[in-house]
């Protein structure tokens, strides 16, 4: 008998009698004040949030804080100069010098501050992790109360990779002291487009 068959046989023999799946329909969040809840939660995680009218405002705000001579990349052609529209074909290792990446989320979750990014929104899978700083554009109407509504919208999804990202990379492994920028971005900024 192969290992696969013997594991499956042991599991079948030992598994307990049937136990039905619970109903999840009671799990619903509050649809009130989604933008302000999101802002409060994301700020408490250590992220920055701005409510803006358009991509021009995003561009202006970012250029106040980032050096345009460094490598600034985006998946959003409308963000304008000096942002480089990133190539989907390039070797992922070539993004190691990216200072700032600007991408757009499919949705965001008010209760935990996370944004949902299927891979086509990332440009390349590595982008939101390898950059030194991450900025994510979220349309106000895509903010949902909890993960339950988020998964209902995402559905099966046709992505090969997708992620919730809820703040800058962090660690507290040394004496529980919080340090931003463990391996991924040191800062994360969300722009809520309304």
């Amino acid at each position: 008998m192969s290992t696969r068959e013997s594991i499956l046989a042991a599991v079948l023999k030992n598994q307990p009698p049937a136990s039905p799946l619970p109903d999840l329909s009671f799990l619903k969040g509050n649809r009130q004040n989604l933008v302000s809840t999101y802002q409060a939660v994301f700020t408490s995680i250590g992220g920055n949030v701005f409510v803006v009218d358009d991509l021009a405002a995003v561009n202006a705000r970012l250029l106040e804080n980032f050096d345009p001579t460094k490598r600034l990349v985006t998946t959003l052609p409308d963000l304008g100069e000096p942002f480089e529209v990133l190539s989907k074909m390039a070797n992922p290792r070539t993004f190691n010098d990216v200072e700032l990446a600007v991408i757009e989320a499919q949705l965001a979750v008010a209760e935990n501050g996370a944004v949902w990014l299927p891979e086509h929104r990332m440009g390349q899978r590595i982008i939101p992790y390898i950059c030194q700083h991450l900025a994510v554009v979220v349309r106000a109407e895509t903010i949902v109360p909890t993960l339950h509504e988020a998964y209902a919208q995402i559905g099966p999804g046709d992505y090969g990779f997708g992620a919730f990202i809820g703040g800058p990379s962090k660690t507290a492994d040394i004496e529980q002291a919080l340090v931003m920028g463990a391996h991924g971005p040191i800062t994360m900024t969300v722009f809520i487009l309304q």
Partner: protein, 464 residues
């Protein structure tokens, strides 16, 4: 690496020699427990969420055979190669053969308790393959040649000065530097090179969705993603109990996991891996390693519901005062103590006794495992099988005899109270292990039985 020569009590005693250190450890973990409480109270339906999670896991255990088949079929459809391993040796052999086929000699790994259980690093290093643990806490433990002491906080037992010294010795940082931000930045810079240059990456798995064939990996550092998305060969290792039926169930588990673990609303990164990148290879190893046997133990199978949040460790008075390494098992703390005897009852016979049975673990567990009941039940099994240490057997036999005969119970109780009040050193001596690190209370003047007899009439009515 696991030291089987000393039992929990002896290792805990060694940990307790540095009182200030123990107090720090105790306080740090209690602080995390308090953050968990605040996060839980922010969710009005928290208790219903726990109940729902527990029931989803009951369904998983009852249908694991079919869910494994469904998961496997979907993985294959998604272009992921599936492997099955009965034990640690087979798991390690599979990982090695994947690397060998590509002539890869360096791998980067994110946190995976399963590969710690399998001693994968040692196996690969012996065969000429260099492995780096990229989670900062695990990286520190690897440099110091120690296993992790906590499943979420691998080096919680170390002070920053010790870590500074380890960095100085192994990485050449300046002597005396112990600032957490400086040390973290140094590790970031050092490991960046490893991420960029290594062609193979291995991750653990938090949740595996049967319905879609995707698996979710949760980290705060982003290290699993840095490894996976830069690799040519991506490997994931998971225990067969990590399956969940449907994608919508992720909403339940992700709301519970980080809040229970550290009090965060969600881990920074919750990555859903489904298909390889163009040009990349993805492998997934399904590992049994005692899980199917535990599934067949009705009293203990619920331990397989564990989502490895670490809350039961943070809350446990014994864990906080004895440190994770004193459990001499990859998974420490209360959950480790109910998982380990299944793997090797003789070697881990001491662990179910390393508990006060206060029940705090069961109260915080997000999937409602009856941990403290299982600790108690393991004690029965271990004594029956003849593996308990002699002092424990005598104590338990005396206890059983006392409890089964009310006459001796009251006589011994009276004698015990007399001893406590008149010659306390007879209890407080080095032959009584319970007395170590404990202050014995003053003995009550009379037992409840005596008080009751004095205050009740013969007919049981209250005296006034």
């Amino acid at each position: 690496m696991e030291k089987a020569t000393k039992d929990h009590a002896a290792l805990a005693e060694a940990f307790n020699r540095d009182e200030e250190h123990v107090n720090w450890h105790d306080g740090a973990l209690w602080w995390i427990r308090q953050k968990r409480d605040i996060a839980a109270k922010n969710i009005p339906e928290w208790e219903q969420l726990r109940e729902t999670a527990s029931r989803i896991k009951s369904n998983v255990l009852a249908n694991l055979h079919d869910y494994l088949l469904e998961f496997e079929a979907n993985l294959t459809k998604n272009g992921v190669t599936v492997h099955w391993a009965a034990d640690a040796e087979e798991h390690n052999r599979i990982v090695y053969s994947i690397l060998k086929a590509k002539e890869i000699t360096q791998m980067i790994k994110s946190k995976s308790m399963l590969t710690e259980e399998c001693h994968l690093n040692e196996y690969l290093i012996e065969r000429g393959i260099d492995v780096i643990n990229s989670d900062l806490g695990e990286y520190i433990q690897q440099l110091d040649n120690e296993p992790p002491s906590h499943i979420v906080l691998p080096c919680i037992h170390k002070r920053k000065e010790e870590i500074g010294e380890i960095f100085h010795e192994h990485l050449g940082t300046e002597k005396g530097v112990s600032d957490p931000t400086t040390l973290t930045r140094f590790a970031r810079w050092h490991l960046r090179d490893a991420f960029i240059s290594r062609r193979a990456a291995l991750t653990g798995v938090n949740f595996a969705v049967a319905e879609t064939g995707e698996y979710v990996v949760c980290t705060n550092e982003g290290n699993a993603d840095m490894g996976a998305h830069l690799s040519d060969i991506q490997i994931a290792s998971m225990g067969i109990e990590k399956i969940i039926p449907k994608k919508e169930h992720l909403g339940v588990f992700l709301r519970l996991l980080a809040r229970s673990a550290t009090g965060q609303p969600i881990t920074i990164y919750s990555s859903h891996f489904k298909k390889p990148r163009p040009g990349q290879e993805m492998h997934l190893v399904l590992v049994d390693l005692g899980r199917s046997r535990q599934l067949g133990r009705p009293d203990f199978r619920d331990s397989l519901k564990c989502i490895k949040c670490g809350a039961c460790m943070n809350t446990c008075p014994v864990y906080r005062k004895s440190g994770g390494l004193s459990y001499h098992n990859t998974i420490s703390g209360p959950i480790g103590a109910i998982l380990a005897p299944n793997l090797d009852m003789k070697r881990h016979a001491d662990l179910p006794f390393a508990s006060t049975l206060c029940g705090s673990c069961s109260n915080v567990c997000p999937v409602k495992i009856n941990i403290h009941d299982q600790l108690y039940q393991w004690r029965q099994v271990i004594v029956q099988e003849g593996y308990a240490a002699n002092t424990k057997v005598l104590g338990m036999k005396a206890m059983a005899w006392t409890l089964s005969s009310p006459g001796s119970y009251s006589t011994i109780g009276r004698a015990g109270r007399w001893v406590l009040n008149n010659i306390p050193f007879a209890v407080n001596n080095k032959f009584n292990p319970w007395y170590k690190q404990r202050e014995m209370p003053d003995g009550p003047k009379e037992s409840f039985g005596e008080w009751y007899a004095k205050n009740q009439g013969d007919n049981g009515s209250e005296k006034v």
